[in-house]
């Protein structure tokens, strides 16, 4: 069923006889496979309000992300959290939408400096499992009026409600960018270099380590980027030769590679995402025995290419953080919980929230486990 208005959506949810699979652009087939009637919300599309001077944009949940990014670029602005397109990684078609991005809380390499998608999310409207239309937050940058259901909806993968509209904080796009590249570092040395850069006052907006080397990004006004690039190069020289890449298209491609995990695209294997404290990442990676590894977020996010059908968590043992199975066959995703199992008391709270927002259990049931 394709939906074109919030009212129709509310009615469709109220009248649903069974489970619903909520679909925006259909680009992120993640989580436990869900059976049910497809509820296509890509028709809830369009930018409702964009005020560059207030750094705010409000748009329908079905609005294609490219449309939003084009509107922002025309004003020299952007979504600072750098949403990632996972089509290549997941081998999917379709068109990423704003609602899908929020439901998955997708944040790219700039997460480490600008925060996550959820941090830029100012307000949401959604239809809960009873068919009630609910709003939370608004369109202003500071808002503590009532509980922050905005954060709760971000990353809830449509299991608490179906997003109809989202408001986001945007930021100016920088005039200039540069990437410091170190080659040939092992994981430990790379993490040490990245940690030194992130602990410096030079406002690093990306720090990754993988097949393209160890990458550290700075952005801003041209003179400032030059200055900070030089200071960082001096700071990092003890780790090896530092090359400063200042060609904008080259820099863009390097970070697209990180953001979209280019190295794992069209390569067989399951893909896992680990969120951990950076200093613990190399040790966990050593235990994982992965076919390939990409560190992002200064080492706080680790992408692992693993043999198919294996439970990475069994190899890692107990650790603080979480592991998410992002890409695997439907059979594997039915067998191994894609989302990290929560400790019992937290699982009880999550289950309680789902039971209250979706009492009939019809919104992407079971997707998050």
């Amino acid at each position: 069923m394709r939906i074109f208005s919030e009212g129709d959506l509310a009615e469709a949810v109220r009248g649903a006889a069974g489970p619903l699979r909520i679909r925006g652009g259909g680009t992120r087939d993640v989580g436990r496979p869900v059976t049910g009637a497809v509820l296509d919300v890509s028709g809830l599309s369009g930018i409702g309000l964009y005020e560059p001077g207030a750094l705010t944009i409000v748009a329908g949940a079905g609005t294609p992300l490219v449309e939003v990014e084009a509107a922002l670029a025309a004003e020299g602005q952007r979504l600072a959290f750098e949403p990632a397109d996972w089509r290549g990684l997941l081998g999917r078609g379709g068109e990423p939408t704003l609602g899908g991005m929020v439901a998955a809380n997708v944040s790219g390499p700039r997460r480490v400096q600008a925060g996550a998608c959820r941090d830029a999310l100012l307000g949401v409207r959604f239809v809960d499992g009873t068919g009630a239309v609910v709003k939370s937050g608004g369109r202003v940058m500071k808002n503590v009026t009532g509980y922050d259901l905005v954060k709760l909806m971000a990353g809830s993968w449509g299991t608490l409600g179906v997003l109809t509209e989202v408001a986001l904080k945007v930021l100016p796009a920088p005039e200039s960018v540069a990437v410091l590249v170190l080659e040939g570092l092992d994981d430990g040395a790379a993490l040490a270099a990245i940690t030194a850069a992130l602990g410096s006052p030079y406002d690093v907006t990306g720090a990754a380590h993988g097949a393209s080397g160890t990458l550290i990004r700075i952005e801003g006004f041209a003179q400032s980027v030059t200055y900070r690039g030089e200071r960082l190069a001096a700071l990092l020289s003890r780790f090896g030769a530092v090359r400063i890449e200042a060609d904008a298209p080259v820099c863009r491609d390097l970070w697209r590679g990180v953001r979209e995990v280019a190295a794992f695209q069209a390569v067989p294997g399951d893909v896992w995402r680990l969120s951990v404290r950076p200093s613990e990442a190399p040790g966990l990676v050593a235990r994982a025995g992965a076919r390939a590894v990409l560190y992002d977020w200064g080492g706080g996010l680790v992408w692992l290419l693993m043999p198919e059908g294996e439970d990475l968590r069994a190899r890692l043992g107990l650790f603080s953080g979480h592991a998410t199975l992002v890409r695997a066959s439907a059979e594997t995703r039915a067998r191994i919980a894609p989302f990290h199992p929560e400790p019992a008391p937290l699982a009880a709270i999550s289950a309680g929230l789902r039971a209250r927002f979706d009492p009939r259990g019809i919104l992407n049931p079971g997707l998050m486990g």
Binding site: V134, R139, V150, P172, P201, E342
Partner: protein, 477 residues
């Protein structure tokens, strides 16, 4: 301000309840002498007072859990309290409630520069979090103006902001994890030193829940390397509209100052009389602060000067020294003291879209004349978080009520133009009855369901956030 009638059966069992608390807490952690509980009768919204049944001051998470389990089994409401600096009455007791003060839990538990976090007990004051790491070149970014006194626990409860959140965000953007004790006495670890939630973002909904979902006893906070330097400029304008347009142009130009503060004429005058900061006599004044190396600061301020000049300012003052920089901030930082000197005041904190600034300031001026009460405006202009200060005389009968009525009108205006009731202070009791201006019953029902899950008996911080009529069935149950 209506508060629910205290539960007589609880009042009647007072000594038995206190005895049970004494059994699980050290002797000096339970306060029930009426002369001493008086100290907990209000927070910084001092117009409202009510001594609690008792106050407890635990020193450990285990003590908090034990005390909450006792209160839970006795059906006694609990009001968590950080430093008591809430301007919204977030820590106002009811007569049948136990105040749970977290102030004794103020230790630093872990500092980790490589992973850029600090773990503290939640009673620690905001400024002393930065104090623990600044010698090593780091800081904790959220900086509410009460930061010398306010506790991290309270910051988390209200999702506090500050002057520098245009660049660094508010508490929720800098909070990585909490230890949360539920009303039933269960200890939960939510989040940690890693980024983002593996499942539902429970941390996100705990932050800003005004102490109604659990008691936060420990917090893992993101710390950042200090910038090389920072420098403010002061820009004076002869109209609010022009100052507002200048703010929008600075933001559109791609400069992201760490702070843009705005003061209107009544506020400039009061601050000048009080602090003698040498502010120009004009309609509107901006303080814009940027960060970086000396050269980076020069570059950004050069751009800001170009933009400001297009708006024909009456003054553009740069600071050539630390001394001059301090002087630029002096008046702004003494704004609240200056107002207190003139009269009693009520501080609002509604947020509006920056584009609505001129309209809202004009309407506030008109309302101020209508109600016959002075209003001075000082606020964080970059993010639209206003702080209208309404002056009134607490000793004049009817003045407080008139002040509150004017405050309500101003907040309704904020919502009308697309903003919200509170940007950083929280709802508390102060804005509880205005919630319906911003939210439908369905919106509030969705929020209350979250409380149903965390605190099914609705014992934690009662009578706050939601209109009493709306929460009545749940609180009674």
């Amino acid at each position: 301000m209506d508060m629910p009638r205290p539960d007589e059966t609880i009042l009647a069992r007072r000594s038995a309840i206190v005895a049970r608390l004494r059994a699980v807490l050290p002797a000096d952690a339970v306060i029930d002498d009426p002369a001493e509980t008086l100290a907990y009768e209000c927070d910084a919204l001092s117009a409202y007072r009510c001594p609690p049944l008792a106050a407890i001051l635990p020193r450990t998470t285990a003590e908090v859990a034990a005390a909450l389990a006792v209160c839970h089994s006795e059906g006694v409401p609990v009001v968590p309290r950080g430093s008591g600096t809430s301007l919204a009455g977030g820590a106002l007791p009811t007569a049948d409630s136990v105040i749970l003060g977290i102030a004794r839990m103020n230790r630093v538990l872990e500092v980790d520069y490589d992973n850029r976090f600090i773990r503290v007990e939640a009673g620690r004051t905001n400024l002393s979090v930065t104090g623990a790491v600044e010698a090593d070149g780091f800081f904790y970014a959220p900086d509410p103006s009460s930061q010398l006194a306010c506790a991290i626990a309270g910051n988390i409860a209200m999702n506090s902001g500050g002057a520098h959140c245009l660049k660094y965000g508010v508490t929720t953007n800098n909070l990585l994890g909490v230890t949360l004790v539920t009303m039933a006495g269960e200890v939960l670890e939510i989040g940690g030193a890693h980024m983002d939630a593996g499942g539902l973002d429970l941390l996100g909904v705990v932050c800003g829940s005004e102490g109604q979902l659990g008691v936060v006893t420990e917090a893992t906070l993101r710390i950042l390397p200090k910038p090389e330097g920072a420098r403010p400029v002061l820009i004076g304008f002869d109209s609010n509209e022009v100052a507002g347009a200048c703010v929008a142009d600075i933001i559109k130009a791609g400069v992201l100052p760490v702070a843009i503060e705005f003061m209107d004429r009544p506020c400039i005058r009061a601050c000048e009389d009080f602090a003698h900061a040498g502010y120009p006599d004009c309609e509107a004044l901006l303080i814009v602060e940027v960060e970086g190396s000396e050269a980076e600061i020069d570059e950004q301020l050069g751009l800001i000067r170009q933009i400001a000049m297009r708006h024909d300012p009456v003054e553009f003052r740069e600071s050539g020294s630390e001394e001059e920089a301090k002087k630029i901030w002096l008046g702004r930082k003494s704004a609240f003291g200056a107002m207190g000197q003139i009269n009693d005041y009520m501080c609002l904190d509604g947020t509006i879209p920056v584009s609505a600034l001129p309209l809202v300031l004009r309407r506030i001026g008109e309302m101020s004349a209508e109600f016959g009460l002075g209003v001075a405006n000082v606020f964080h202009a970059g993010d639209g978080n206003m702080h209208p200060l309404i002056l009134y005389d607490a000793n004049t009968p009817g003045d407080l009520e008139r002040c509150e009525a004017l405050g309500a009108e101003i907040l309704k205006l904020c919502v009308e133009v697309g903003g919200c009731l509170t940007g950083e202070h929280g709802v508390g009791i102060e804005k509880r009855d205005l919630m319906a201006v911003q939210y439908t019953s369905a919106d509030m029902e969705a929020q209350m369901r979250v409380k149903d899950v965390f605190d099914p008996a609705w014992l934690l911080n009662p009578a706050k956030v939601f209109p009493l009529a709306l929460s009545a069935g749940r609180r009674a149950g």
